[in-house]
Amino acid sequence: MPELRTRLFAPARDPLWGAIAALLVSLLVSFLAIAVSGRDAVSGFADLVSGAFGGIGPLGETAIKSAVLILTGLSVAVAFTVGLFNIGAEGQLIWGGLAAAVVGQIDVPGAMVWSLAAAALAGALWGLLPGWLKVRRGVHEVISTILLNWIAIHLVQGWLVPGPLGAPGSGATVSVAGTEPIVAAARLPRLFFGSRLDLGFPLALLAAAAVWWLLTRTWRGFEWRAVGTGRDAARASGVPADRRICEGMALSGALAGLGGALLILGTEHKYPGVFRALRAGATRLQLVGIHPSFAELTQGLAVLLVAAPRLFLPLLARLRGRPAAAASDPPIPTVQP
C-alpha cells in the first residue's frame, strides 16, 4: 500500500496532481460564489454536469467541444515543447476555420480532407509567423501572438466574412449569415443517432496520439524537447534550434487551425457571422440564472492555480508520506556524499 502511494504521488506526477487540485479548487470557488450570490448553486452545478455528461446528446456536445479543446490544448503543448508560449491559438483557430469554410465550398472528391488540410495550412502559417519573429527579430511570442489574435479577429470577422467572403445577398447590415455553407461532402460525418458527435472527436484523439508519438518516439521530437529545455545547449550540440522552433510553432498553429476546422466542418457547416466562444454546459447555467461568464472565471481561476503548483507542494509531500520538504527546490549539493 505505501508502495502504491509513493508511486502515485512521485515527484514526477506533481504537475498532474497540481492540475487536478487546481481544477477542484476553482470549481469549489465557483460553487461558493454562486451560492453566495443567492442562486441555486446545487441545481446549477447539477445542470452543468448533466449538460455536459447526461445522456448521449449532451455527451456528444461535450465531446465536440472537448475535441476542439484537445486540439487547442495540443497546440499550446507543442509550442511549449519548443519553449514558447503560444497564446495565439485563437487566431490560428479562426484562420483555420475560415480556410475550411472556404475550401469546403468546392465540390470535389475528398472535400473533407482538402478542407482539413487547408485549415491546418492556414493555422500553420499563422503560427509560423510569431515563431519566425521570435527567432529572427527577438519579438516576445506572448506579445506577438496576442497581437496576431486581434488582427485575425478583426480581419476575419470584421472584414472578410461580412465582406468579400460572405454569402451574397446578405444585405447592407452586418450579416448574420456568414459564409456560404459548405458542400455535403465536406461535412464531418456524424457517428451516432441522437447526437451531434462527429468524426471530429476521434480525429482529435488521433491527433493527440500522433503528437505524443512524435514527441516521445522520434528523434526529431527529441530535438524539439531539447530546444525547449535548453536552447543553447541544443544548438551547441548541432541541433538547428531556430528551425526547430519554427517547426514547432507551425505544427502548433496547424493543430489550432484543425480545431477551427472541426467547428466549421462538424457543427456550423459554414463560417458564421457571429461566432461565440463555446462552453459545453455553460448555456444550461443561464437557465438557472447564472451568468455564463462564470465559466470564464472558472477557467481563469484554474489557470491561475495551475500556474502556482507550489501552493500544493506541502500537501503533495504529505500525501507522499514524507514530511514537507523545504520551500525551495533541493539545490545542487556542494559536498560529495
Partner: protein, 508 residues
C-alpha cells in the same frame, strides 16, 4: 575582542550537510586563510557569516555582538564585508552607484551624487586602488571589478573583510598586487579572512591557516613554515592520493600530422568589439595545447569559434576542412568535441534526463536511433555504459540532469563528448575542471588522456596554470586577442604572468 567569531555553525541542504559544527575566530589586524578543496564548504561558510544564509545551528558574532541569522543588513552594519568569488555587482550601474547602493547619501530626497562620487573616489585613492568611479561596472576588467568590490566594502566601513577565492580570475601579477592590498588592509587594523584553494599564495600572506574538509575545520594555526604545502595538501584532501599515477602527456609525444590549423583568426565579442585580432597556431594529432590568459582576452571567443558557435574570419581548418566551423553540426560531423565553459547553459538540457543528455549530439544516429525513431534500448544501454565508464553519480539514468552535482554534470558532458559517439578528432575543453573536487578532476583528465592516446588533438583553455602545466605539451598565452607568447609547461608563474598582462612582445 574578536573581529569575527563563528561558533558551532551547522548548515544543511536537504540530505546534504555542508557545514558540520564549524568554529572560527579572527582578531582585528589578522589575516586568516581558509583552505579546502571544492565542495568542502568554504563558500557556504562565507554565506552564513554575512547573513545571506541562515545557519541551522550555531552563532555568528562580530566585535562581541551576536548577529541575527539570515540578516545581511545586520552583518553589514556590524562591519562584515564580503567580496564574493562571483562578483555581486550590478552591471549597468556605475562604480559609485554600486558602492553606495543600499546606503545612498541623500539630499532633499534625491541621491547626493556629488558626495557619493567624492567619497568613493577618496576611499579608492586612500588605498591606492585605481578606479574610475563613473565607469559602468560591466565595462571594467575582472581585476578592476574586484577592486570595485573591495571599494564597496570599505566605503561601508567594513572592519572584517572576507575574500572568497579572490585570485581565481587574476594573473599572477594581479594576484601579487592583491596580496599587497590585503596586507595593507590588515595593517590598518582590519581583519581579513582569505579563502582559497591555492596553497602557495595563502602561505605567503596568512597569519593563520584554517583547513576545512567536508564541512569540518581541522586546524586553525599559524603555518609551521612558509613552504608547508605538502602537509597542508594532505590535510585538505584527507590522505587521498595527492600524486596521481598518471601517464604524463609530455611522455606521449604528438604525432606529426596537423589536425587544427588557425591562421590570422579574427572574431568579435558579443558587444561587437574585436575579441581575436589575428591568432595563428597549429595543434597536432595527440598534442595537448593549453590556452592561458586573464579572463576576457579572447579565450571564450576562440573556443566558440572552433565549436561553430561564433563566426570567425581568417583561416580555420580541421583535417584540411575549412568550412567545419560554419555551424556546430558541421563541426561535430568533422569530429569536433566541445566541453564548454558554461556547461549548464551550453551543454545540458537541465529538465531532460541524464540518459537523454548523454545522447544529445549523437541522438539521430545508431545506437541511439534507428531511422527516424529513437532506439530506446540502444540509448539506455549506451547511457549505462557511459555512466559506468565515467563514474557519473546518479540514482538512475532517468534522473534529471539538473539535479546532478556540478562535478557529475561535467563528467556527464565529458562522457558524452569523448565517448558518446565516434572518437573525436579535436577536443576543445574550456575550464574542464572548474568547481570540481580532486577525484572528479582526475577522471576528466584521464578521459582527456585517453582521447589523446586515440590521436585526438586537444585544446585546453584554463585559468588554472597548474592544470595547464599538468596537461599540456605547450601553453599559448592570449592577451588582448593576440597570442602574447608561447611557453613550455615548466615556465614559471612569473613568466606566464608577464605574458598574460601583455608585457612581453608577441612571439611569432
Amino acid at each position: 575582542m574578536n573581529a569575527l567569531e563563528l561558533h558551532g555553525i551547522v548548515k544543511r541542504f536537504g540530505p546534504v550537510t555542508a557545514l558540520d559544527g564549524v568554529s572560527l575566530a579572527m582578531a582585528p589586524g589578522e589575516v586568516v586563510a581558509l583552505v579546502g578543496e571544492n565542495g568542502a564548504g568554504k563558500s557556504t561558510l562565507v554565506s552564513v557569516a554575512c547573513g545571506l544564509y541562515r545557519a541551522d545551528a550555531g552563532t555568528v558574532s562580530a566585535f562581541g555582538r551576536q548577529l541575527p541569522p539570515g540578516d545581511p543588513r545586520a552583518a553589514i552594519d556590524a562591519g562584515i564585508g564580503v567580496v564574493y568569488q562571483h562578483f555581486m555587482l550590478v552591471g549597468p550601474l556605475t562604480v559609485w552607484e554600486n558602492a553606495v547602493l543600499g546606503r545612498e547619501p541623500r539630499r532633499l530626497g534625491f541621491i547626493d551624487r556629488r558626495r557619493s562620487r567624492r567619497e568613493a573616489a577618496d576611499v579608492a585613492a586612500r588605498l591606492g586602488l585605481a578606479i574610475d568611479v563613473d565607469a559602468r561596472v560591466e565595462t571594467l576588467s575582472v581585476a578592476a571589478q574586484q577592486r570595485v568590490e573591495i571599494l564597496k566594502q570599505l566605503w561601508r566601513g567594513a572592519r572584517a573583510l572576507i575574500l572568497d577565492e579572490p585570485t581565481a580570475l587574476l594573473s599572477p601579477q594581479e594576484s601579487a598586487e592583491l596580496m599587497r592590498t590585503v596586507r595593507a588592509l590588515a595593517a590598518e587594523g582590519r581583519a581579513v579572512l582569505f579563502i582559497s584553494h591555492k596553497l602557495r599564495e595563502v602561505l605567503a600572506v596568512a597569519d593563520r591557516i584554517a583547513v576545512i574538509r567536508r564541512g569540518n575545520i581541522l586546524r586553525a594555526a599559524a603555518p609551521r613554515s612558509r613552504t608547508d604545502t605538502a602537509a597542508l595538501a594532505d590535510l585538505m584532501m584527507g590522505g587521498a592520493p595527492a600524486v596521481v599515477a598518471r601517464s604524463s602527456p609530455s611522455r606521449m609525444l604528438p604525432q606529426p600530422g596537423i589536425v587544427l590549423r588557425a591562421r590570422e583568426l579574427t572574431c568579435s565579442s558579443d558587444r561587437g568589439l574585436p575579441a581575436l585580432r589575428g591568432v595563428s597556431f597549429d595543434v597536432r594529432s595527440g598534442e595537448v595545447v593549453g590556452v592561458a590568459g586573464v579572463d576576457g582576452n579572447g579565450q571564450t571567443e576562440l573556443a566558440e569559434a572552433i565549436a561553430g558557435l561564433r563566426s570567425a574570419g581568417g583561416l580555420l581548418s580541421l583535417d584540411g576542412d575549412t568550412s567545419f566551423h560554419r555551424s556546430p553540426a558541421a563541426a561535430r560531423r568533422a569530429g569536433m568535441a566541445h566541453l564548454p565553459e558554461d556547461r549548464r547553459r551550453l551543454a545540458l538540457c537541465g529538465s531532460l534526463s541524464v540518459e537523454e543528455n548523454l545522447a544529445l549530439g549523437h541522438h539521430s544516429s545508431p545506437p541511439y536511433a534507428r531511422g527516424f525513431l529513437i532506439d530506446r534500448p540502444g540509448r539506455r544501454a549506451m547511457a549505462q555504459r557511459l555512466i559506468a565508464e565515467f563514474d557519473v553519480r546518479t540514482p538512475d539514468p532517468s534522473a534529471r540532469a539538473a539535479d546532478l552535482s556540478g562535478g557529475n554534470q561535467q563528467k556527464l558532458v565529458a562522457a558524452r563528448e569523448l565517448s558518446g559517439g565516434p572518437p573525436p578528432r579535436l577536443i576543445v575543453a574550456v575550464h574542464p575542471t572548474r568547481g570540481l573536487d580532486p577525484r572528479a578532476s582526475r577522471r576528466v583528465h584521464e578521459a582527456l588522456f585517453a582521447a589523446q592516446r586515440g590521436g585526438a588533438a586537444i585544446l585546453v583553455v584554463s585559468l588554472d596554470l597548474d592544470e595547464l602545466r599538468e596537461l599540456c605539451h605547450r601553453i599559448l598565452v592570449l592577451f588582448d586577442g593576440r597570442i602574447a607568447g608561447e611557453a613550455a609547461p615548466d615556465a614559471s608563474d612569473e613568466q606566464l604572468g608577464r605574458m598574460m598582462l601583455g608585457q612581453v612582445p608577441a612571439v611569432a
